[in-house]
């Protein structure tokens, strides 16, 4: 039996410890927003947050998670997540949408650490997330928009 903290809730799963987090999410918990694309950390479709860091769920194993906080596309929230989602809609980024949960989780992790990334930082953070529909340009534009929204919100919050 494994105990995992997923989207703020402790879940007890009857899976072997070598089960991937991706399988645990999709097959045991029905959290299918996290996608399989390669199984080798080559495409980023399975990107989730572990203690706020973007990680590939396909190469993360239940045995290694301990008390770590796992956040998926279904559970991610907060001002950065809101800004990223709003920017994704503003730029109508998604085509098929299959890779987009991973792209969005990656982008949220980036903007959380680095609220105003330059182009090189965006490239470095997003280069592991593949999109065969070719939405890369809109992803970049949406991240810039989200960064602007966040900086406006921060300025507005200052006394």
């Amino acid at each position: 039996m494994a105990r995992l903290t997923i989207n703020g809730t402790v879940q007890t799963l009857d899976v072997p410890p070598e089960t991937s987090l991706l399988n645990a999410l999709r097959d045991e918990l029905g959290l299918t927003g996290t996608k399989y694309g390669c199984g080798l950390s080559q495409c980023g479709a399975c990107t989730v947050h572990v203690n706020g860091d973007a990680v590939r769920a396909c190469q993360t194993y239940v045995r290694d998670l301990g008390d770590a906080r796992v956040t998926t596309i279904e559970g991610v929230s907060g001002p950065v997540a809101d800004a990223v989602r709003a920017a994704w809609l503003e730029h109508d980024v998604a085509q098929c949408g299959y890779c987009q949960p991973g792209q969005i989780m990656q982008a949220i992790a980036l903007l959380t650490r680095q609220p105003n990334p330059d182009d090189a930082a965006i490239t470095a953070a997003m280069n592991g997330n593949l999109c065969r529909c070719g939405t890369y340009g809109r992803i970049r534009a949406a991240i810039r928009s989200a960064a602007r929204m966040l900086s406006l919100a921060t300025e507005g919050a200052e006394p």
Binding site: V15, P16, T19, S20, N23, R26, D27, G30, L31, T32, G33, T34, K35, Y36, G37, C38, G39, L40, Q42, C43, A45, T72, I73, E74, R85, W88, L89, D92, V93, A94, Q95, C96, G97, Y98, C99, Q100, P101, I104, I122, T123, M126, N127, G128, N129, L130, C131, R132, C133, G134, T135, Y136, G137, R138, I139, R140
Partner: protein
């Protein structure tokens, strides 16, 4: 013709079974390029369409919905459901079909919801394809353009009639906008939902009797600000693809396929696999062995534990190097003549002129959609239900029926969203759905009644075959003493995609697959002597249409060679194209637009270059200018500027997205991807580390410019792909003086 359609429809679970015995309303539509095709509109079928899909319309709970035809359903709460006959795989077709219906219905965009149509060739056929429901060839919006508008217009007319009756006024005095009916004279108004019940009781008018809007009345068509109606689900993880389907008691299957194409099972020792906990069955399939388990990781483990030997006696045991050698030898021999204008041979041997010759080669390519092929199948004594993202639902129904050994009428196919496709999910061999249905049959035969999900791994996908064919083009050209092109001879060596498929009857003259020579047979340039011929070798490698099919390689050869001709003639490549396309106004339009937007004549510094290509496919024309920087062996694409003429731009932002996406797809093939077989016939690549595709870091700025047009809409999913590779190769030549003629482009050291 009608009888033929109904017969076919019945085979595919269509209109002859008792529950479909309804009054049908036939109308004929002149299909563009496909002769006379027939479309059927069945009154009051929308609600049943949803019921067929296994889920009663949610909007029916609060009262009876109003479904005036197979494409539109209105609920009392005002929701307008558009039943979409085409697969949404990212190309935005749901948005397009919803736009057409909402435009004529005068619905508010916010009240429109897309819903996938069930497999039914009678109601949901592609009007360009006759009795087949399908999405491909960039035909969706073009074939449905009038059909969906009429569907919306019929619904609007009935709502107006209902309001006129309710209010006791003349229908002509009623106005509609944003989902509201108004009678200005009496200052009355009502939302559509309020008239649904009354409208549902009216007689459905003949779709041809309702007036459609004139273009100047459009308020949705051509507007750039429509958000995709399903955009939110795609960013919050709730969009359901076939691989996300979860059914109660669902089992999971994996298939081990022979590593060589054409190999068959020799020996199977299943003991180790069966001893894996949770494993329910090991099943021999026509191509491979399936393991079925309760959990995906159990199925993975069991598949790895299968002890199998394969019989390679009928298998392909040579590599792509040997196939390429065979192609090069064939290129020395005349092929089947595809086109012959004037006397190219004579012009090419004129001692007064100049001749040049070049050979272009492209590799096999996997589609590699982000969601690998996937399907769920549930076979019971009552029939089989299948969930998959299918580009050819009614063809897949027949495939499923055969593999599950049931009648087509017993197949219910739920079309899900597809995580990309690019042609992969339009496989006449139906590989994934056939496997899923075969597995479901194997389970039922063993007394196991449960839904089963077959999800291919990325390795299964890359190594599973059905690739864009490898191709070779040998092109010769002659310039007269004034530098004018006077001869063009092109020999194509390419496997047939159509052969051995149910589409084979549309093969042209013997030995000619039109999809191998599209873009060559119809070479648009005004060259007086043109000769083209074709070899269609058999290789044993399964091939399939891949976004833009033949155009994906013919444009590379044609547009690269046109650049070579221009340089040989010391003429600007843009100027030469403008001259030789003088009778093609749409090509001229995109060329002028892209040249202006890209700043074609602006000088570039050392190591940088600009290249141009233009190509017509699927009724649309795209011109692309690539700007590259070449440093040592590295090609960096800095900017792509594209101009497109796809007729009336229904959804300008979706058009931009398709051109951006098609350009990225083309850049993957130009710079990164190739699929090769080693000398024993094993596929070398297996996943994204060795079957490389474009990533964020290599993606250039892409600018898209749309030519205003009032012509009927034409294709947009594919036409951006063909000009990419030649534009980049021509830019590399401009930057370096080196002509690269093989994809993916590699600068020799």
């Amino acid at each position: 013709m009608t009888a033929f359609i109904e017969r076919r429809a019945a085979r595919s679970g269509g209109i002859e079974s008792p529950r479909f015995s309804r009054r049908t309303l036939l109308r004929s539509v002149a299909g563009a390029g496909a002769g006379l095709t027939l479309g059927l509109l069945l009154p009051s079928r929308g609600a049943e369409a949803a019921a067929d899909a296994g889920e009663g319309p949610a909007d029916a709970r609060d009262g009876e919905p109003f479904a005036p035809n197979a494409f539109v359903r209105l609920a009392p709460d005002g929701t307008v459901t558009v039943i979409c006959k085409h697969l949404e795989m990212g190309q935005g077709v749901y948005t397009g079909l919803c736009t057409l219906v909402a435009e004529e219905l005068d619905a508010a965009w916010s009240q429109v919801r897309p819903e996938p149509a069930p497999a039914d060739a009678a109601r949901y056929n592609n009007l360009f394809w006759g009795p087949l429901q399908g999405t491909g060839g960039s035909t969706s919006l073009a074939n449905a353009f009038e059909q969906m508008r009429r569907a919306g217009a019929v619904a609007r007319a009935m709502l107006v009639t209902a309001a006129a009756q309710e209010w006791g006024v003349a229908p002509a005095e009623i106005e509609t906008a944003e989902g509201v009916l108004r009678h200005p004279a009496s200052d009355r108004s009502a939302p559509y939902g309020a008239m649904v019940e009354r409208a549902a009781g009216l007689t459905v008018p003949d779709p041809d009797s309702v007036a459609l809007k004139a273009p100047e009345q459009f308020r949705l068509i051509g507007k750039g600000d429509l958000r995709r109606p399903d955009a939110e689900a795609r960013i919050n993880g709730t969009a359901i693809f076939a691989s996300d389907i979860r059914r109660p008691g669902m089992l999971v299957a994996r298939v081990r396929r022979p590593p060589r194409f054409g190999a068959v099972l020799k020996t199977l020792d299943e003991d180790a696999a069966k001893s894996v906990p949770g494993v329910k069955a090991v099943l021999v399939l026509p191509r491979g062995v399936a393991v079925v388990a309760e959990k995906s990781w159990q199925a993975d483990q069991a598949r790895a534990a299968l002890n199998i030997t394969w019989d390679d006696s009928a298998a392909l045991t040579v590599g792509t190097d040997a196939i390429r050698k065979q192609y090069r030898e064939l290129a020395e021999q005349p092929g089947t003549v595809v086109r012959n204008d004037g006397d190219a041979a004579a012009a090419l041997s004129d001692p007064e002129g100049r001749t040049l010759e070049a050979t272009y080669e492209v590799p096999y390519l996997a589609h590699a959609p982000m969601e690998p092929p996937s399907a769920v199948a549930h076979l019971t004594d009552a029939g089989i239900e299948v969930w998959t993202g299918s580009q050819v639902p009614t063809m897949d129904v027949l495939t499923i029926a055969e593999a599950a050994r049931v009648k087509p009428e017993a197949v219910t196919l739920h079309v899900t969203l597809a995580g990309g496709s690019f042609g992969r999910r339009a496989n006449p061999a139906g590989d994934c759905v056939a496997e899923a249905a075969g597995i479901a049959r194997g389970l039922l035969d063993r007394g196991i009644v449960a839904p089963v999900q077959l999800a291919w791994t990325r390795e299964d996908d890359i190594r599973g075959g059905f690739y864009r064919p490898m191709a070779l083009h040998r092109v010769s050209g002659a310039l007269d003493p004034n530098g004018r092109p006077v001869a063009w001879r092109q020999r194509v060596v390419c496997q047939s995609v159509l052969k051995d498929t149910p589409f084979a009857p549309i093969l042209g003259a013997p030995g000619i697959d039109p999809m191998a020579v599209e873009g060559v047979k119809d070479l648009p340039y005004a060259v007086p002597n043109v000769h083209a011929d074709l070899h269609m070798p058999e290789t044993g490698v399964p091939v399939l249409w891949w976004r833009s099919i033949g155009h994906s390689h013919t444009a590379f050869a044609v547009e690269s060679f046109m650049d070579e001709m221009a340089h040989a003639a010391h003429v600007d490549p843009l100027v030469l194209r403008l001259d030789l396309l003088r009778d093609h106004p749409r090509a001229l339009g995109v060329l002028m637009l892209v040249a202006e937007q890209a700043g074609w004549h602006a000088p570039m510094e050392g190591g940088r270059g600009r290249g141009l290509a233009v190509h017509e496919s699927y009724g649309s024309v795209v011109a692309t200018v690539a700007e590259v920087t070449v440093r040592e062996q590295t090609i960096r694409v800095d900017r792509m500027v594209c101009a497109v003429d796809c007729g009336l731009p229904v959804n300008p932002d979706i058009i931009r997205a398709q051109v951006e996406g098609g350009t990225v797809f083309g850049l993957s093939a130009t710079l990164r991807s190739r699929l090769t077989l080693d000398e024993t016939g094993l596929v070398r690549q297996s996943n994204f580390h060795d079957f490389e595709v474009l990533r964020q870091a290599s993606t250039p700025e892409i600018a898209v410019h749309i030519v205003p047009s009032t012509d009927p809409p034409s294709g947009i999913g594919e036409p951006a792909v063909p000009p990419v590779a030649p534009a980049v190769a021509n830019a590399v030549f401009a930057a370096t003086g080196r002509r690269l003629r093989s994809l993916p482009l590699r600068v020799p050291s």
